[in-house]
């Protein structure tokens, strides 16, 4: 796949203000492939929004280079920005405007001639068509967020940035939004979404990028990342509580549950020899009776927390 957004050694220093200078991006590198959904994960203040804002032209880079579709975002800003749609984190809409008019405005602003049929189609896909003549102030929070998406899609962008799209959106609506995002991807739109909901990244993303303290820590295929980083855990429920782990089982690094009725064994889910059968045999020889067994896999959230924790010792 071709690279559609190329970010190289991007630095952004905010200066002035009572807090002095602040380096929000410290040489970030990121290549986004055409047609993928990339989830950009990172804790608050990691530089996610600054990164997006710099690509979109809202913030100026201190140094570094960004191209979108091969167009430099500074010297060829018109060609680059025409390709980009941005859904900001905050709901920022003129309250007295009507839905149709505000979406039409966005299309015109990006240099496209009026096409109400297209705009109405976008509204229909986002279940906003019957609200097209309503004022923004009459809409619910979820609807307003969808208006922001409609505005971003009004000029038929090739790259869509969604900055925390499901903040404050209920579960049903969130799922609906995911469907919209997936169908956009199917049409060939490249999607970059920042999110706090790891579940969202897990559900949607093809690749995951983790940003922390202004640097991209890793970019990896989501499935490969989950497989590589995933730890599995076996929980053994005991028939009788134990006071301590028998010496013979020390090598397994077992953890005894608080009331002594469970044993936990962590192992590498990808390893060839996981040691489960040997452990069970040894439990049997030690005369420890089991009632039940359960295995669990770490999710993206735990992987993410682990990564960011390593970066912030």
């Amino acid at each position: 796949m071709n690279t559609i957004v190329d970010i190289q050694n991007l630095r952004k220093i905010y200066d002035g203000g009572p807090l002095g200078t602040f380096e929000a991006l410290k040489g970030a590198d990121l290549q986004i492939k055409e047609g993928e959904i990339l989830a950009l994960l990172g804790p608050n203040g990691a530089g996610k929004t600054t990164l997006i804002s710099t690509v979109c032209g809202i913030t100026r880079a201190t140094s570094g280079k960004i191209t979108v579709g091969g167009h430099d975002v500074v010297s060829e800003f018109r060609a680059a920005r025409r390709m980009i749609g941005l859904v900001p984190q905050e709901i920022t809409l003129e309250p007295f405007e009507k839905v149709m008019r505000t979406v039409r405005f966005s299309r015109g602003l990006f240099g496209l001639p009026k096409n109400d049929a297209f705009v109405e189609d976008v509204l229909r896909k986002l279940s906003l068509y019957d609200k097209k003549d309503n004022k923004i102030m009459e809409l619910s929070g979820g609807m307003k967020r969808r208006v922001l998406i409609a505005k971003a899609l009004a000029h038929e962008p090739r790259v869509l940035f969604l900055d925390e799209p499901s903040a404050g959106v209920d579960v049903e609506l969130r799922k609906g939004m995911w469907d919209v995002v997936r169908s956009l991807r199917d049409q060939g739109v490249t999607i970059i979404l920042t999110t706090h909901y790891i579940e969202e990244a897990e559900q949607m993303a093809d690749r995951v990028a983790v940003i922390s303290k202004g640097q991209i820590l890793l970019v990896e295929d989501k499935d490969a990342l989950m497989a590589r980083m995933s730890q599995k855990e076996l929980t053994i429920e005991l028939a009788e509580p134990l006071n301590a782990i028998p010496d013979a089982l020390c090598a397994y690094g077992l953890e005894l549950g608080r009331d002594g009725t469970t044993l936990r064994y962590s192992y590498d889910g990808k390893a060839e020899r996981k040691g489960i059968r040997r452990l069970l045999n040894e439990l049997d020889s030690a005369g420890i009776a089991m009632r039940d067994l359960k295995t669990q896999q770490t999710n993206l959230e735990e992987i993410f927390v682990g990564l960011v924790k390593d970066d912030n010792p």
Binding site: G57, I58, R60, R78, L86, T92, R101, L109
Partner: protein, 253 residues
């Protein structure tokens, strides 16, 4: 040039004006009528003619200028400050538009609104007093240039302002006093020599004088000087806006 964007901004801003058309239309008509009742009928009848022009008619150009200047300034400043205040400016900053297109859209709309109000006042005034316009083209040129230059200034104020109070500050503390002291309701020659000299430092004097000349053929300062003043002011505003967008001052970090 991204003319589609210019059109989009212009229509979007004009829509705001038409949404409150009654207000936009009624308030200048009402205030002009009040001025005529007070200055024209009540006080004007006891005033001498100024340079051969009845006082009621004499104040018409000044009245139009007063409204046009304040309306152009406040419309343009609000037009760009509001998106900054509610955050929708992100869209403008991420759109494929340059400073010129943004300025033509916003300032063009603000100037159009001010021009509309100026014409409404002129029509209202014509109902109260006999008006002759000796140089209609010059009148129109002065009116349009004033609308444009004060809208440009308003645009700068809108970008500079950090809150609604600052937004009101310049129109209230600078524009209104300058217009009142700029000979809207009197001829500069009616002032004592010291105040006459001071008045020549007030740029609005040149605009009102030129505008009044277009009506009655009388002026406090030479007409060429008036045109030069307004052109210089317009150029200075455009220069300042160009600098603002080049440096991103107060809009782009």
């Amino acid at each position: 040039m991204n003319w589609q964007a210019v059109k989009a901004i212009y229509y979007f801003e004009m829509a705001r004006f038409f949404r409150t058309l009654l207000q936009s239309f009624l308030s200048p008509v009402l205030s002009t009528s009040l001025y005529f009742v007070v200055f024209g009928a009540a006080i004007g009848s006891r005033m001498q003619e100024v340079d051969g022009v009845p006082y009621g008619a004499f104040i018409v150009p000044g009245l139009i200028m007063l409204s046009v200047m304040t309306q152009a300034t406040s419309n343009a400043s609000f037009g760009i400050y509001f998106p900054k205040f509610i955050g929708t400016i992100y869209e403008l900053l991420s759109a494929p538009v340059n400073f010129l297109e943004i300025v033509i859209g916003y300032v063009g709309a603000a100037a159009t609104k001010a021009l509309f109000i100026g014409v409404v006042i002129l029509i209202t005034a014509a109902l109260f007093v006999d008006l002759t316009i000796q140089a209609p083209l010059a009148m129109l040129a002065f009116l349009v240039l004033t609308c444009l230059s004060f809208a440009l200034m308003g645009f700068i104020i809108g970008i500079w302002a950090g809150n609604f109070e600052q937004l009101q500050l310049v129109p209230l503390l600078v524009v209104t006093p300058l217009v009142f002291l700029g000979g809207s309701f009197y001829s500069i020659s009616m002032l004592p020599p010291v105040w006459q000299a001071i008045s020549y430092f007030n740029p609005v004097v040149y605009l009102i004088s030129g505008f009044r000349w277009a009506f009655f053929g009388i002026a406090d300062v030479p007409i060429g000087l008036g045109l030069l003043a307004i052109t210089t002011f317009t150029a200075a505003c455009i220069g300042a806006i160009w600098w603002i967008f080049r440096t991103g001052w107060r809009i782009r970090q």
